[in-house]
């Protein structure tokens, strides 16, 4: 007799996402079968999201060392040394799946989480970035997701009082059922304020600060992030977590005061694995154990079970580890900032984590087994069989486009168009540090009371990485590096967010490995170690993986910061228009032109050139430091034509440009930027470029009210500045107003 499988009969560990082998491993560690509470802890800690079990073997490839790296990957945020006792902390994270379920709250809680990663280190968060990707805005649901995500980032970031200084928006079919929402946070601190996630020594007490614990996200983010969406997800929707930026603001101020006064030995934020992680990881890092009393946890709802308390992902909570004689002072700070505090544990020797609930022991396990004994999977990798075909599938345009029409259509593409509708919803001026605001290649922030400026750029390009993950990954690092260099900053360190499809597919793991290889190579060339990152797998809908979409966040230091750093909008009539970098290979593969004009994604993007990358970056840095060209812009999406148009639009001036053929106008070869050059700096700039062996092309000059492209033939064309401006500015608002 064969009954249909009763879902109720499914063993608990499988419902929690643990495989049968993992379940057996747990039995081996404990020497008995696990309790429900233990199972809950292992299941969250061993989820893909928390354990990096599929990615860990590959992440080791990243270069992570440099003399200025203070804290590398593995802690809540990476930390680098800025000199004179100043440090910067940087971290990036994804909140893709929660943002699909509920865009406002998903994005908002993503911001909350990334802030905690940074102030956990002792740093004051000073700026946020976001990289968000959706399907086409022609679709109403994508518009809903996009505007909801932006409102959520604004709602949380503005209220918590940390400015949002930029990011990226991109629209591509593959993100329709699986938007990407990545958020990045930068903090600064004095060296003596650095705090690590350690539980300290025997007798230290664990103080849970902030929000009450509720049944938030139980089976939520961590399990969610590890299981793909499919048609049934509508009915399995987990409870949504609501962000409380007000609570977070108080938590930030309280924690910073605790650090200032030297009252804590260590701090750990409560993220996706909640208390399970906040108790075990700091204990494991300190080589200690801990006695935890769940009855002390302040709860929002009655009758929560031990597994619920251990797995809850309630937001805005932190765990501080405190020497007993400092406890009263810590509680006093909490009272002053009007946040709740509860002593929930004591650090013990021996490495055992003991959890009590209702007076009974509900879990007793080696603290380090939750993190260090987590399984590692060497998943098979295999070059996709379709790749060679894709490379051969180059664009075949029967009739060459008219340059003016192509340019206008590109300016109207929401991925290229003015992002102002987004960034004007974000407070990007708070703290009075924003020297270059969103809307430029990189944002630039001063550190008051010093000569230092921090430049940050974030870059991703799913199409390029789909066509060649290794080249694509490397080029992102070079692009971000050039962007910060344009402000006068020296590239310093990188964080990465690796958004990929299903790691159980060999071709996804191949893309993953290749991307890491490419990023690593470029980081080695630029001496920008990877100091942190995040991996998001299972970004797929109905079995279709997203384009491999690594996002790079790159931090640069300008010391001294130029008095008048170049801007995108500094071109004036009469200045010459120059291009720096090589124009040799002219390749449209993966370009916005192919996608937007020909509806084509194919071919193989050109390879980066390490020597040229370095040279162009040096020219950019010295240009800014010497105060030569006042307006610069890197050439990326849409090629030189779009870069020139953007500089014209932002500066409010036309230009006349000589070109040879249209391919060169729209190709996206790396390591190039344009500059507006006043006559009196021309010879200095030429000398500078020659010193770094960087080719210079004099393309034309600025002036007039048109953007003219001339090659002496019928391809010559012209676009009115007003029309170009209108297209570029209105592309996003127009679509949001209803298509």
């Amino acid at each position: 007799m064969s009954d249909p499988v009763d879902p109720d009969e499914e063993p608990v560990h499988r419902l929690l996402g643990l495989t049968d082998e993992e379940f057996e491993t747990i039995g081996g560690i404990l020497g008995r079968s696990p309790s429900d509470a233990e199972l809950a802890m292992y299941s969250v800690m061993w989820s893909e999201h928390c354990s990096y079990k599929s990615s860990r073997p590959h992440l080791g490839r990243f270069p992570t060392q440099a003399p200025w790296v203070v804290v590398g990957p593995g802690e809540n945020a990476g930390v680098v040394d800025l000199g004179d006792g100043w440090l910067a902390a940087l971290r990036i994270e994804s909140h893709n799946h929660p943002s699909f379920v509920e865009p406002y709250q998903g994005a908002a809680t993503g911001v909350g989480g990334i802030l905690r990663d940074v102030f956990t280190m002792g740093a004051r968060p000073i700026a946020l970035w976001n990289q968000i990707r959706f399907g086409s805005l022609d679709d109403a649901h994508n518009r809903y997701l996009f505007s909801g995500v932006v409102a959520g980032i604004a709602g949380y970031g503005n209220a918590v009082g940390v400015p949002t200084l930029g990011g990226e928006i991109a629209f591509e079919e593959c993100y329709t059922g699986n938007p990407l929402v990545n958020v990045m946070c930068l903090g600064v601190l004095r060296r003596e304020q650095l705090v690590l996630g350690t539980a300290g020594t025997e007798g230290s007490v664990a103080v849970l600060l902030g929000n009450a614990t509720g049944r938030d996200g139980i089976g939520g983010a961590s399990v969610l992030a590890s299981a793909s969406f499919d048609e049934t997800s509508g009915t399995k929707r987990p409870s949504v977590q609501v962000g409380d930026p007000f609570e977070e603001k108080k938590l930030i101020e309280a924690c910073l005061e605790l650090y200032d006064k030297g009252l804590v030995v260590g701090v750990q934020d409560l993220g996706a694995a909640g208390l399970s992680c906040a108790c075990s990881e700091p204990a494991a890092r300190a080589g200690m154990g801990m006695d935890v009393d769940l009855d002390a946890v302040h709860t929002r709802e009655p009758d929560m079970t031990a597994p619920e308390l251990l797995m809850s992902e309630s937001q805005e909570r932190m765990m501080a580890f405190v020497a007993p004689d400092r406890l009263e002072a810590v509680l006093e700070v909490a009272r002053r900032w009007e946040i709740d505090a509860a002593v929930v544990g004591t650090v013990t020797t021996g490495g055992t984590l003991t959890v009590r609930h209702n007076g009974e022991v509900v879990a007793e396990l080696p603290a380090d087994s939750l993190s260090e004994a987590a399984p590692v999977y060497k998943r098979p990798t295999g070059e996709p069989i379709w790749l060679a075909g894709l490379w051969n599938n180059t664009m075949d345009l029967l009739t060459p486009p008219s340059v003016d029409e192509a340019l206008l259509r590109l300016l109207d593409d929401p991925s290229i168009a003015d992002a102002r509708w987004v960034y004007e919803q974000y407070d990007h001026m708070l703290f009075l540090n924003t020297v270059i605001e969103p809307g430029h290649d990189a944002s630039l922030i001063r550190i008051k009371g010093t000569s230092k400026g921090l430049a940050v750029s974030t870059d991703g390009n799913g199409r390029h990485c789909y066509l060649d993950p290794r080249r694509g990954g490397a080029r992102l690092v070079y692009e971000a590096g050039l962007n910060v260099a344009l402000t006068g900053a020296e590239p310093m360190a990188v964080v990465d967010n690796l958004n990929f499809g299903n790691p159980e597919k060999p071709e996804v793991m191949w893309q993953f490995r290749e991307t890491i290889e490419g990023i690593s190579e470029a980081c080695e060339v630029l001496s920008t170690p990877v100091i942190g990152g995040n991996v998001s797998f299972y970004n797929e809908t109905d079995g279709n993986d997203i384009f491999p979409t690594p996002v790079i966040g790159l931090l640069g230091l300008a010391d001294p910061m130029p008095a008048h750093p170049p801007r995108l909008d500094g071109a004036r009539a009469g200045m010459e228009l120059w291009m720096f970098g090589s124009q040799r290979s002219r390749n449209l593969a993966g370009s916005a032109f192919e996608k937007v004009i020909a509806g084509h994604v194919g071919g193989r993007p050109s390879a980066p050139d390490a020597v040229m990358a370095r040279g162009v970056i040096e020219v950019a840095i010295h240009n800014a430091r010497l105060g030569l060209a006042p307006a610069v812009h890197d050439i990326s999406d849409g090629g030189a034509a779009v870069a020139i148009a953007e500089m014209c639009i932002r500066s409010g001036v036309g230009a006349t440009v000589q070109f040879t053929d249209w391919v060169g106008l729209f190709a996206e070869n790396p390591h190039r930027f344009i500059a507006a050059v006043p006559a009196d700096v021309a010879s200095d700039l030429e000398t500078l470029a020659a010193r770094w062996d960087v080719p210079v092309t004099r393309l034309g000059h600025f002036g007039g009210t048109e953007i003219r492209f001339e090659n002496g033939g019928p391809e010559s064309a012209s676009v009115g500045l007003a029309e170009a401006t209108e297209r570029w500015r209105e592309a996003i608002p127009r679509r949001l107003a209803g298509g």
Binding site: A151, A154, G155, N158, A159, V160, G161, D244, P245, F246, E247, K249, K250, W337, E338, Y423, E424, Q425, Y426, D427, H428, M429, L430, F431, L432, T434, V435, E437, R446, K448, A563
Partner: protein
């Protein structure tokens, strides 16, 4: 000249305001909302941010903070009191200024520099400015849409209106739907003022504008005569 910068839980512009007051020549001190004595101070600023998360209604909960009775008392004594953005909202809720705020007309948060036309210089906020002067100052709010029972009764109390770069005041230059483009007002005595955009964000060339300085200086200058 000592200025108090009041900090409610959720306030976030306190350091910026203190910085700008410093540039304008005052000695600024942060004061927690549970304090009840401001007799030492020659001027009081309620800075921007999200006091109490802006929950329920912007400024509604902050109005009941212990410090607010003292702010009222000092205001009645003629001490300059300035509310910026969220601080303006708190002053309205506390009935130190007329009117109320609701969501921006387009229901989005707005962070960008806008133009203001100075309408009246008889106040602690505008005494150093000139009528008709156009200032470029960042706006940064979601609930910046000013409304008042009887706009006509606001005559002589409107300090600045939203305008375009040439100073013309119309619907087009109204970023958030505020009645009569009102961006800044004062009480009849002129010693309590509120402004929705952020003058403290426009006090240094490197940040893009110094147009806020004339307003910050007005405030600082107003502190002197009363105290000497």
């Amino acid at each position: 000249m000592k200025a108090a910068v009041v900090v409610f839980p959720g306030t976030n512009c306190e350091h910026d305001v203190a910085w700008a007051l410093g540039i304008a020549g005052a000695d600024a001190h942060l004061v927690w909302h549970r304090e009840t004595d401001l007799s030492d101070f020659d001027g009081i600023v309620l800075p921007g941010g999200f006091a109490h998360g802006d929950y329920l209604r912007t400024g509604a909960i902050a109005r009941f903070s212990p410090i607010m009775d003292e702010v009222k008392r000092r205001a009645e004594e003629g001490v300059p009191v300035l509310g910026i953005c969220n601080g303006f909202q708190v002053l309205c809720e506390a009935h130190l200024l007329p009117g109320a705020f609701h969501q921006n007309r387009d229901l989005t948060f707005i962070c960008r520099p806008i133009h203001l036309r100075v309408e009246d210089t008889d106040s602690i906020l505008t005494r150093a400015a000139e009528v008709g002067q156009v200032l470029t100052i960042p706006l940064n709010s979601y609930e910046g849409n000013f409304t008042v029972h009887d706009p006509a009764a606001m005559r002589g109390r409107v300090l600045a209106r939203y305008a375009d770069a040439t100073g013309s005041v119309d619907d087009e230059s109204n970023p958030n739907g505020s009645v009569d483009n009102i961006a800044a007002i004062s009480n009849p005595a002129g010693n309590v003022a509120g402004i929705m955009p952020h003058p403290e964000r426009a006090v240094e060339e490197i940040l893009g504008s110094v147009d806020g300085l004339v307003l910050m200086r007005s405030f600082v200058e107003s502190m002197e005569p009363a105290r000497v």
